[in-house]
Amino acid sequence: MEQLGFAAGTIVAGVFTCVAWFWGSNIVLDAVYPPRGPKAGVNILRAGAIRPWLFLGPAILLLSVYLVYPVINSAWRSLHNSDGSEWVGLGNYFWLMQDTKFHESLFNNLLWLVTVPALATLFGLISAQITDRIKWGNTGKSLIFMPMAISFVGAGVIWKFIYDYRGEGLDQIGLLNAIVTAFGGTPQTWLVLPFWNSFFLMAVLIWIQTGFAMVILSAALRGIPEETIEAAILDGASPWQVFMKIKVPQIWGTIAVVWTTITITVLKVFDIVFVMTNGEWGTQVLANLMYNWMFRGAPDYGRGSAIAIVIMLLVTPIMIWNIRNARKESR
């Protein structure tokens, strides 16, 4: 309880400080450059030049300290040894290139990168198309969208239960093994199965991201001009043709946005692997490998940072694409 009081106090203090800053700094500005008197014109111009920076100040400060500085600092650390005391140049990167765990992580990340955005977008598109044309569509949408609210850790528990394994002959309590045995198959320890276990982890992220894809694609589908669809139907197109040849081509832009957004999430995927397999049995991914180097056993910040920089480099093309898109829109 004391702790909640502390939190409430912080909210009040934080809000008060923010308001005091924005309000106070504006008053000071108006006092220094009063918008009246003989130099009113010049003063208004000057105050107008300074005021945006007062509004932006706290945000710029926080962004610099919490996002820009770490990028630079990580780049610097990645060129140094484990505790940052010695310059090693590209040594950490050379080490990465011959490390088998890194190869495994990179390969798995690529698998994730190919599979998850594709399937999540596909399922999202299908569910958007289907739920848009039935009476209980909104309820259906809500339920498919629901996993978005569930934490990766919670989802990890939920899916680990589905993949649960009991010895052959025992009653299976994991849904997947129960289905497999019901059809006469042998139960499997899904999360240990070489190569395929990564896909069982991906299922979790696909399950979470499909709702996101669905919501956005559904809005895009509704935005398609009616005339194009009506014209196609008059020309005798089947529903399938209408969907594939009329609708999908018109929402390519949105599909690309959804795809890249999920791609970013995939590149950073950590929690799911962390809690379900911890990267064992060949399921390692970059983010978890980095965590291992930074926080497990004897930390090696140099190598950990090098992996972080690799993740950053993989994200960069999408970042540039996003910036260009945003600028195009604002024009």
């Binding site: 996002l67 770490p70 990028v71 990580s74 569910s127 629901m146 934490s151 239960f161 309590i173």
Partner: protein, 377 residues
């Protein structure tokens, strides 16, 4: 949009069925865990959760009474009692491990030394002997029982107390609320400046914000942890609030700016002409009009902070008083991997608040997603 396939009944059916399958596929994992969280340990281990609404058949044994329980009836010594617990019914019984369900209820079986045993359908057993019983350990009666469906909230009681979920719940709230409120304020001012003030470098700043949206958090952990240690902040709530504020700002600024740019220019221009200061315009006009966008971001940030594991693990520390719910859940997965009753109840407790927020505020969440579909989680 209706009517394209709506005119063909068989297609309508196909679409309905396909939608139903999708919805079931997407909800069943969560539902399974929810059901399991209300079953006790033995039930979870004995049968899949989908059998929970059915009576479950279990085989086990009970011990008959011992010598002190016997009564004399005529020339017979009798021990009697019941093999069932409340609500159960008897399917079969037996006296040997090999054949635990050899006899039907109601049958009388002859035992060595002239003894007999009868177990009735209502579970009452009657063990008779011509001589007095001397056993100090009751004989085993194997029973196959049918237990009606039964649900319990014991798991929840247990995880909130003994497993530390109650404390973690408080911790999570303590982390989440300030980490949601403070970035909104800071971002709202910045977004207003980026949307409605003219100054050099504005386009560059907007591009920077869009770029920062995708910076992987992983990069920030070590440098910031070191920084916090150097400036004496260490591990604690202050640090994690600041970290979440920093990490949430790009999305907040981006969402709010996109929304504010769309507000009608005339209102703001005429307020300026009337001599309102920028601060007044912001407080009286922009802030109230931007409520939907503020709500969208608040939900995003709330869900994100509540569900976060990485930032909390790194910036808050791992002692049991400091763990947030995701942290406890992770610990439990490691230490109690097979205790599904604990895991299910804990997981449900930790996702209950986000789910409530999600269903209550879905409208704003969708709106926010549509406005800022650059960052997704």
């Amino acid at each position: 949009m209706d009517g394209v396939v709506g005119t063909r009944p068989h297609l309508v059916w196909a679409v309905n069925i396909a939608a139903a399958i999708l919805v079931i596929l997407w909800t069943i994992p969560t539902f399974g865990l929810l059901v399991s969280s209300f079953r006790d340990r033995d039930q979870i281990a004995a049968s899949g959760w989908w059998r929970a609404p059915l009576a479950s058949e279990q085989t086990g044994f009970v011990r008959a009474g011992t010598a002190p329980d016997q009564v004399q009836e005529g020339d017979l010594w009798v021990i009697s009692g019941t093999v069932l617990e409340g609500g159960q019914s008897l399917n079969a019984w037996g006296i040997r491990t090999r054949e635990p369900s050899a006899y039907q209820p109601g049958v009388t079986v002859d035992l060595p030394e002239g003894r007999t045993l009868t177990v009735a359908a209502d579970g009452a057993y009657r063990l008779t002997s011509p001589t007095a019983f001397t056993e100090t350990r009751g004989m085993r009666i194997f029973v196959t029982t049918l237990t009606p469906p039964r649900f319990t909230t014991d798991n929840y009681v247990r995880v909130i107390g003994a497993e530390g979920l109650g404390q973690a719940f408080l911790n999570t709230f303590t982390v989440t609320i300030p980490a949601t409120v403070i970035p909104i304020l800071i971002a709202a001012f910045a977004a207003y400046a980026l949307a409605w003030m003219e100054f050099p470098g504005r386009a560059l700043l907007i591009a920077a914000v869009v770029g920062l949206l995708v910076v992987p958090l992983q990069l920030a952990l070590i440098p910031l942890l070191k920084l916090h240690n150097d400036i004496g902040l260490g591990k604690g709530y202050m640090g994690i609030w600041l970290a979440h504020t920093g990490f949430g700002l790009p999305l907040a600024i981006y969402l709010l700016r996109n929304y504010m740019v769309g507000l009608p220019r005339e209102i703001i221009e005429s307020a300026r002409v009337d001599g309102a200061t920028e601060f007044q315009i912001f407080r009286r006009i922009i802030l109230p009009l931007s409520f939907p966008a503020l709500a969208s971001f608040a939900i995003f940030q709330f869900l994100w902070v509540w569900n976060d594991l990485l930032v909390a693990t790194v910036f808050l520390g791992n002692s049991s008083e400091q763990l947030v719910m995701t942290g406890v859940l992770r610990e439990l997965m490691g230490s109690r991997g097979g205790d599904w009753e604990i895991l299910a109840a804990s997981a449900f407790l930790s996702i209950s608040v986000p789910l409530v927020v999600f269903f209550a505020m879905q409208k704003y969440l969708v709106r926010g997603l549509l406005a800022g579909s650059v960052k997704g989680g």
